[in-house]
């Protein structure tokens, strides 16, 4: 029984993906540095990618890997724009605390 549990299967990969996603979620919710929040979003995307590839592998379906490639491309684009925003914010305010930006009126 224990041997069977230790052998990695579908559930193990999904569990790892769930843990990564939860850490990313906590990072987005709790951290105050904008850059770390962006990094946590990347973590969540990675967790989702892992789920896609896992199901693709266990269902013998290549679509999982294909969607993962698309997600990676979109994530790279998202990171570029996010970082450009952060750079603009930092140049204008010299501030990275997310709570500093919660009041939208100038």
């Amino acid at each position: 029984m224990l041997n069977n549990l230790l052998m990695p299967g579908l559930g193990h990969y999904l569990l790892v993906s769930g843990i990564l996603f939860t850490i990313g979620l906590l990072g987005v919710l709790l951290r105050k540095n904008i850059i770390v929040i962006l990094m946590s979003i990347e973590l969540m995307l990675n967790a989702v990618n892992l789920t896609f590839v896992t199901f693709g592998y266990y269902l013998n379906d290549a679509n999982g890997a294909v969607i993962t490639l698309f997600v990676i491309a979109v994530a790279a684009a998202e990171a570029a724009v996010g970082l450009a925003l952060v750079v603009t914010l930092f140049k204008n305010f010299h501030e990275l605390n997310i709570r500093f930006f919660e009041h939208l009126k100038g």
Binding site: G18, L30, I35, E42, Y58, A75, A77, F93, N97
Partner: protein, 174 residues
């Protein structure tokens, strides 16, 4: 046996590094731990016999995205002010943790009680489903529209990025 060993190594690397990304007070350290997460996840892809996806993960994430992060952090020397890395507010933080914990509990519950339904799923190791030829065939037939839209996105992104970084002042000009 090898697969079990590599699974535990790579998943351990990625989870521990993810925790370090979450808890490091210095953004530079966070970025470096993020590299380690990417390498760990790439190893897991390799374990799932998707070497091409694993390589693209390293190429795009570790080779470009994370270097961009590191670049921005270093060029502006963005240190967090003091040791307080989490946003303040005990009650709201408690709510957030509760929400995330609830989500995680839901995922674990689903995995433990639904996994038996997928017990019949046995990966066919001889099938070349994750081979590059196969993947590209799917991309350029079933998902060709998505692929074109992605190309458009990649054209829009640099323009937007250049426009953003050239903004002088705006409504918040000092």
């Amino acid at each position: 046996m090898t697969q079990a060993l590599t699974f535990y190594i790579f998943s351990g690397i990625s989870i521990v590094s993810a925790l370090m990304v979450f808890s490091s007070s210095n953004p530079v350290k966070s970025v470096l731990w993020l590299v380690s997460v990417m390498v760990g996840v790439s190893g897991l892809f390799f374990n799932l016999s998707a070497p091409f996806v694993a390589m693209v993960q390293i190429l795009v994430y570790a080779g470009a995205v994370v270097i961009l992060f590191l670049f921005v952090v270093m060029i502006f020397d963005m240190k967090t002010e003091g040791k307080q890395v989490f946003s303040y507010g005990t009650f709201s933080s408690g709510l957030k943790v509760l929400f995330a914990g609830g989500f995680f509990g839901f995922v674990v519950f689903q995995i433990f009680f639904q996994i038996d339904r997928f017990g019949y799923l046995v990966p066919d190791k001889s099938a070349p489903q994750f081979e590059v030829r196969n993947l590209s065939k799917i991309i350029f037939t079933d998902y060709v529209f998505l692929f074109e839209v992605l190309g458009l996105l990649l054209l829009v992104i640099p323009i937007g990025t250049v426009a953003l970084s050239r903004i002088r002042g705006g409504t918040h000009a000092e």
